[in-house]
Symmetry: C2
Subunit: 375 residues, 2 copies
């Protein structure tokens, strides 16, 4: 692992996410300087008190002035504006990455400028708690950390950010911004809407004095755990992603309509098939969590040094479910490009990465990590 002691990290927005990032880089990577900027003096002081930041800044410009890497963890609808201010005020080698839950509109706005230093990010580790007081250095441990590298991003910037995130225990994985927002509508925003609407529906029912809500058992409690969390944060997320969320909810509404019709006509087979299908899907989801760890392999890919290559390669591997443990780009020259080395777990994963890359026209090989080190 590189020595991070001289790295300066800026964190704009010191809530749960930003604060946890500060704790993580300090405690896990030995970063000695974390400069924070927040909306109120009180929040900033709290961030110092819990150890999430070491220095308070009075403005975005002051926070990013000496930063090597800047994380933007402000509410989702302010991210574009804050990013622009951070890009303008920071040094030309400062990497900037946000932590917002939606990526599509942000990347559209920034990617068109051919931005080299900005990489979209989204750690999937929501919590029903908020605020820096709940920040934890292990919040990102084993959490999928989506990255949306724009077409103009410099591979060495991506490499540095990927390395830092892997270093704090996250699982960075590149994804296309539109695919990201559609998937988040399905696996995050829809569950939040269902939790909210279910608790409101049940909350309105009172039978002869008995409140339905107070009879809730564990299944209802689990499905509504996130209900009502952070009204403004979640309103912003729902609104930012409203086109995908609307589509996903329409489809859900159709599914519910089909189920009520099956119940009405007494169609037991339809109902049973729904549960059987769910058992298959549920197992598939749980099994993916418990893949056996295995030996490390390095996939080496010679790539040209031109815009879009890094995002094409990393997104394709991310889509194929290939987790990149580590990533290094060796630039040979602008003419000859360079070699991307991707560390993955297991020979089978290495082989799959090679075949994905070959289909894209790249000449990739996979070798055991030990022999790659020796060579």
């Amino acid at each position: 692992m590189p020595d991070y002691s001289d790295t300066t990290i800026a964190i704009l927005g010191v809530g749960l996410m930003g604060g946890s990032m500060g704790l993580a880089v300090r405690e896990r990577l030995g970063v000695e300087r974390v400069v924070g900027y927040g909306r109120t003096a009180r929040t900033l002081q709290q961030a110092v008190d819990v150890g999430a930041i070491t220095d308070k800044a009075g403005s975005i410009a002051e926070a990013v002035r000496d930063a090597d890497i800047c994380f933007i963890a402000t509410p989702v609808r302010t991210i574009l504006e804050v990013t622009r201010a951070a890009l303008e005020a920071s040094a030309s080698d400062c990497i900037i990455s946000d932590m917002g839950s939606t990526k599509s509109s942000l990347m559209k706005a920034l990617d068109s400028t051919g931005e080299k230093r900005f990489i979209g990010g989204h750690p999937v580790c929501g919590s029903e708690t908020a605020g820096v007081a709940n920040a934890r250095e292990d919040l990102f441990e084993k959490a999928t950390y989506f990255l949306t590298p724009g077409r103009g991003v410099d591979p060495s910037n991506y490499e540095r950010l990927h390395g830092l995130l892997a270093g704090i225990g996250a699982l960075p994985t590149a994804i296309d911004p539109d695919a990201h927002d559609r998937i988040m509508a399905l696996v995050s925003h829809m569950p939040h809407v269902l939790a909210n609407t279910a608790v409101n529906q049940v909350g309105g029912v009172n039978l002869d004095g008995r409140e339905a809500l107070l009879s809730a058992g564990p299944s209802f409690r689990d499905m509504t755990r996130v209900a009502g969390s952070n009204p403004q944060v979640w309103t912003d997320i729902f609104m930012e992603n409203r086109s995908w969320l609307g589509e996903v909810l329409k489809e859900h509404g159709e599914n519910i309509r089909r189920i009520t019709e099956a119940l009405e006509r007494g169609d037991e087979d339809y109902i049973r098939q729904m549960v059987i299908d769910a058992a298959v899907n549920h197992n598939r989801m749980l099994e993916a969590e418990h893949l056996a760890p295995s030996d490390l392999f390095v996939v080496k890919v010679p790539v040209p040094d031109r815009p879009g290559v890094l995002s094409d390669v990393t997104v394709a591997l991310g889509n194929a479910g290939i987790n990149i443990d580590d990533l290094v780009f060796h630039r040979i020259s602008v003419d000859q490009g360079g070699v991307l080395s991707l560390v993955v777990s297991g020979g089978e994963t290495g082989d799959r990465a090679v075949s994905v890359l070959k289909e894209m026209g790249y000449d990739a090989v996979s070798v055991p990590y030990s022999s790659a080190e020796a060579g």
Copy 2:
């Protein structure tokens, strides 16, 4: 607590629920004889092996022959038939109670016969696991245990069952069968349907090779924890309660339609209000769990000895959210009736119980438990 060592318990259906009841009465009440009956010799033997039952029976009649209390924990659609067989084969003082998730149609069928010995039951402690191998003696600990006393039930039978359930740590609460099924549609059956349908919707989405299901974070995992559990058991429950479940799901579909429309027209206020309301409802649900324990009071109610009184009184108190820790019926004579003593926690709860009972025309008083004991 009464001495249960000479009590014989019969358990028909030795799966998770029946098996846990066997373990609970043996380990917590010192019951020495638990006779089990199950569909297969293998399941029955397994029930003996895990200690859930002490004796195996080859038929329902054999299982209930010497029983003082019989629990029916077979699949929900077989309960009526099994109950009739158990009533016929058991002694005239054997109490029979089921453990099924729906109560309305069962009670309609049995209550019309003026049944004295059958009391409907439903412990709210679902688990995604099934089978006697997963049985636990603490499954009912602090779980709401709904009871649906029919109009003909003998108060002393209700007293004995209530006492046994409180003795294994459950919170027995009487409820009207229709209200029970409607509330269960809301807080149990709907969450199960939403979990099943959500996991199926997401399971069908694959974007450029990336499976949406494998990007699920904690909110999706929590809301789908029960997805796919016990396909036949849940198909039975959904079908048994299909009229209430259908209504509840239609209302849910309407709520979803209103949300998608708000998203389409960009109505941020509507979305924010949904989350704010959910926060209020969610807090209300969580707070009800953490009511401070307080001193015990005894509510004494002189009642006539005629059909329906016990179910009227206990259901009204259950509806008012009043938990009855213990219940004793002292019969004076058939002409003069008797006195129902209800133990509740806290003077405020005792006062509320008195006012509910006075509104029903009963002359109730609440006294501290200690003075009631002394008197």
